[in-house]
């Protein structure tokens, strides 16, 4: 059987890769994709913990799964809004490079 630790390490690695993408990328689209990776890493951890800790203490297998459903919901809303903002940004400034969007930088 696969220990819980393996799933958690998979989630940690995925989160690290997503963090690197958010920090290092310049294209706004790629930053949003990296945020999706991080949300996904959280989901893997939630579901793994929920599945392994079912019935231990006050844990219920569905609590983790339902929180994961909410994370997916928020991720969908976030992607829709993010791309609306990126489209508007592109129309107004002609670029999706976040280093060139320095209107609020003095």
């Amino acid at each position: 059987m696969v220990p819980l630790l393996y799933f958690q390490l998979l989630g940690a690695a995925l989160f690290g890769i997503g963090l690197y993408g958010v920090l290092a990328r310049r294209s706004a689209v790629l930053i949003v994709l990296s945020i999706e990776l991080m949300l996904n890493a959280v989901n893997i951890n939630l579901i793994a913990a929920a599945s392994y800790l079912n019935g231990i203490g006050r844990f219920d297998a569905f609590d983790g799964q339902i929180i994961a459903i909410f994370v997916i919901t928020v991720a969908a809303a976030e992607v829709g809004l993010a791309f609306a903002i990126i489209l508007r940004m592109y129309r107004n400034r002609g670029t999706v490079n976040v280093d060139e969007i320095n209107l609020l930088k003095w």
Binding site: A13, L14, I17, V29, S34, F62, L81, R88, N97
Partner: protein, 172 residues
């Protein structure tokens, strides 16, 4: 057998994620993201979360990837190849590696869980969602509605009001 399947989905997930952060081509990045998300769906299947795996494939694989591709097509694609990673990328590598290492050590040191993943009765998910989690569920629907309306307002073309404002702004 399970370990082999886990290694397979881990390779898919991590490999797809590395593809997302490594490739220059945005369309390729979106497709790598799809690979990574499908790998995660496989991990959910190994954890007996079949409903979540289904939702993952439908929402991420279906909706989000398509939205990403739309966004890539609607913004100028010729610009993308020259947008490189920024100069701080070595620092970003260090930060991400340190964070992943700290998380990994924390998980490593956590008390060992001897129980095995179980396949709970599937109907319990709906019962729990609509009783214990009913209020967050309703709030989630509101969040989606607000995000949808906000996205439409932000992204739609110039309105009549904006057009009237524009000359005034240029005169002022």
């Amino acid at each position: 057998m399970q370990l082999a399947l886990f290694i397979l989905v881990a390779i898919f997930t991590i490999g797809g994620a590395l593809g997302v952060v490594a490739t220059r081509n945005v369309v390729h990045a979106a497709l790598f993201l799809l690979l990574s998300l499908l790998g995660a769906a496989g991990a959910y299947l190994l954890l007996f979360a079949e409903f979540l795996a289904l939702v993952q494939v439908l929402i991420y694989g279906g909706a989000i990837t398509i939205v990403v591709l739309f966004a890539v097509m609607l913004t100028r694609s010729s610009e993308y190849p020259r947008i490189t990673d920024n100069r701080q990328w070595p620092l970003a590598v260090v930060t991400a590696a340190v964070l992943a290492a700290v998380l990994g050590v924390a998980f490593w040191l956590a008390p060992e869980v001897s129980s095995q993943p179980q396949a709970p009765e599937f109907t319990g998910l709906a019962a729990s969602l609509f009783t214990k989690w009913a209020l967050p569920f309703e709030i989630a629907s509101l969040v989606l509605l607000v995000a949808l309306i906000g996205a439409i307002i932000i992204a739609r073309a110039q309105t009549v009001g904006d057009a009237e404002d524009a000359p005034g702004r240029s005169e002022g």
